[in-house]
């Protein structure tokens, strides 16, 4: 008699995400599905709007990483309008991006990931949360809040306001950096870098103490994708897209505007979210991972000293080959956090960042236009692709978001952990948490668009083939 377990972690409007685990007659895991809702209709919603509105419109679809959409949209607008931003504009765009990365990576680690690492997967869910961190280490909690505030303040100082910044436009940005703001950001950098180092040591310490778990938990071969600079170094704002295969071999490196020659999207009937894959390998062999682990598995180096030293250690984990364990996302994320903090210092020290030359203007004859904008959002590679008519009105919009790029990887991670830990005859909190934790490694953004209250609690249901409920865990 086959059985089915359903995890509904964030069911809100129509269910933003849930996991169903199908058991065979012996009560062992047969198959696992991770279902996600997409930004339904967003692309259609944007069609007919002027292209230059996209940096404002798209950041409003997500309250969590609006700057990522703001920047990717602006880069696509640069391409549509055939205008190259000034060097100062690029530096300022990268600076606001670093602010976004710092607050996002910091929040994910301290709020979502650290409780698993500090208290263990089997600890009481009532106390396996950030509040226990506050209780046991209030100084660490305050540091986490400060790190988040620091990132947000960079966004506010550049974007003019904390929420829905109006900063980047086709051809550049609309305001230079003031000396007062440069000094204010620089003044906190040393303290924030120390917090970043402390977070990194927590992640690394846990992984070193739990090597066996780290090596086996949601560990599987895949391809990897991320932006790199011309020397193969880590790039989060600009560069070429590099893809490496399961053994680390270079599969492709291409300019973002050619992404459709390399990436296709596969549709499964059980998920609203498409599954991107590499055309050259076909489906499903061509699925890939993005985000911190994906990025660190494709690059050759990192252009800041502390992060580079840590990257060398990261590379040794699997003797130079790609690191496969999903839990290493946490370590990779903290290496990136350190990089971003160091990179902020580099940007602030660049004399060009204080220039007033912040925008180039598009040529009048540019339209109709086509344009692709790609950045590395905190969760991975983010694609914005627009086409316009001769009046600059959008005729075509295609977005591939980071969580979409990792769709199959999360599905695979959940399946791998379910097979290893779920016993269909009796569910436990630890089992449920491990499945969640596997997905948490990827820091998916399932709640971007809506957030009305009334969401269902987290539920795992164990169902017999006839629909009889055999077991249930809810919180």
């Amino acid at each position: 008699m086959g059985q089915k377990i359903t995890i509904e972690p964030v069911t809100r409007i129509e269910g933003h995400g849930r996991v169903t685990i199908h058991l065979d007659d012996k009560g062992e895991v047969e198959q696992t599905f991770f279902h996600v809702d997409e930004f339904r209709g967003l692309e259609k919603f944007c069609e007919g709007r002027p292209y230059y509105e996209m940096p404002q419109i798209t950041q409003r679809i997500c309250g969590i990483c609006p700057i990522s959409h703001h920047l990717a949209a602006s880069k696509a607008c640069d391409a549509v309008a055939r205008v190259v931003p000034t060097r100062t504009a690029k530096l300022l765009r990268e600076l606001i991006h670093m602010g976004q990365m710092v607050q996002s990576h910091g929040m994910h680690f301290f709020y979502l990931a650290a409780p698993d690492l500090l208290f263990g997967f089997d600890s009481d869910p009532a106390t396996r949360n950030v509040f226990r961190i506050i209780k046991e280490n209030p100084q660490l909690a305050l540091k986490a809040v400060n790190l988040r505030r620091f990132g947000q303040q960079i966004i506010e100082k550049l974007g003019g306001k904390r929420i829905h910044a109006n900063f980047t436009v086709a051809g550049g940005v609309n305001a230079p950096l003031t000396e007062e703001n440069r000094k204010a950001i620089a003044a906190e950098l040393k303290v924030m870098t120390e917090i970043g180092k402390e977070a990194l040591s927590i992640a690394k310490g846990w992984l070193e103490a739990n090597k066996e778990t780290a090596a086996s938990f949601a560990s599987f071969p895949s391809n990897y994708m991320g932006l790199v600079d011309l020397e193969g170094g880590l790039q989060l704002y600009d560069g070429e897209i590099r893809v490496r295969g399961v053994n680390g071999e270079l599969l492709a490196q291409f300019k973002p505007e050619y992404y459709l020659s390399y990436i296709a999207e596969h549709v499964e009937s059980w998920s609203f979210l498409k599954h991107p894959y590499l055309r050259m390998l076909g489906w499903p062999k061509g699925f890939y991972r993005v985000g911190p682990l994906g990025r660190l598995n494709v690059i050759d180096k990192i252009g800041t000293p502390l992060a580079q030293e840590e990257f060398k250690l990261f590379r040794q984990i699997n003797e130079g080959k790609p690191v496969e364990g999903s839990l290493y996302y946490h370590y990779a994320r903290m290496i990136e956090l350190l990089y971003c903090l160091e990179r902020i210092g580099q940007l602030l020290d660049d004399p060009d960042i204080m220039s007033n030359d912040v925008r180039n203007y598009p040529p009048l004859e540019a339209l109709p236009g086509q344009g692709v904008g790609v950045i590395e959002a905190p969760r991975g590679t983010l694609f914005h692709d627009y086409g316009t008519d001769e009046n600059g009105l959008l005729t075509r919009v295609n977005l591939i978001v980071a969580t979409g790029n990792n769709n199959w990887a999360m599905h695979t991670a959940a399946g791998s952990v379910a097979k290893a830990y779920v016993n269909g005859n009796k569910l436990t909190e630890g089992m449920l948490n491990r499945v969640e934790a596997a997905i948490r490694c990827y820091d998916p953004c399932l709640s971007c668009a809506t957030h009305a209250i009334g969401k269902m609690p987290l539920v795992i249901r164990l169902l017999a083939a006839d629909g009889t409920e055999l077991d249930r865990i809810s919180r």
């Binding site: 995400g17 399932l446 668009a449 209250i453 969401k455």
Partner: protein
């Protein structure tokens, strides 16, 4: 009257999900305050005995701001089947962890305030039933009809002398 902040949150580009924006503006109107324009959040000017903001999500950054108030009224849309169309209830700190989501709920925000800042404001949530979450900037008729009752409920919580309130 305790110094109060009304915190509405939602996505105004997803129809009823952004209903708090409409409610906040009705309250501001009733209090004789300037209504929020398209890009305003209310964070621009926070110096009154009754302030109000509209945010996309509840995130940790607002905690420091909330320490300056003795009363918080959260305003949201809801989709729960077992709730009244207009819901008003007290909120107390809850120490629960998030599974994946990056935003916080009012009870979690209160728990953070209590634990990190030793601040325990009185708090309520006023929410109305949402019917439509499509990509558009207008409310469904059913939800639209709940705006005024929700605004009245908030004003009731403010315990202001009615003659002072503009309707």
């Amino acid at each position: 009257m305790p110094r109060t902040i009304i915190v509405g949150y939602g996505n105004i580009d997803r129809s009823d999900d952004g209903v708090a924006y409409g409610i906040i503006n009705l309250v501001r109107q009733a209090l004789g305050q300037k209504i929020l324009e398209d890009e305003d959040t209310g964070l621009e000017k926070l110096d009154g005995e009754i302030d109000s903001v509209f945010l996309p999500q509840l995130v940790p950054d607002i905690m420091e701001l909330l320490t300056g108030y003795e009363q918080i009224i959260f305003v949201d849309a809801h989709a729960g089947a077992d709730m009244e169309d207009l819901n008003c209830s007290k909120v107390t700190p809850q120490y629960v962890s998030s599974t994946f989501t990056h935003h916080m709920t009012p009870d979690v925000i209160l728990a953070f305030l209590k634990t990190l800042y030793q601040h325990e404001p009185e708090a309520y949530i006023v929410s109305v039933r949402a019917h439509d979450f499509d990509f558009k900037r207008s409310f469904s008729p059913k939800t639209q009809s709940l705006l005024r009752p929700a605004s009245d409920k908030i004003i009731e919580l403010l315990k202001i002398d009615l003659p002072l309130v503009r309707r």
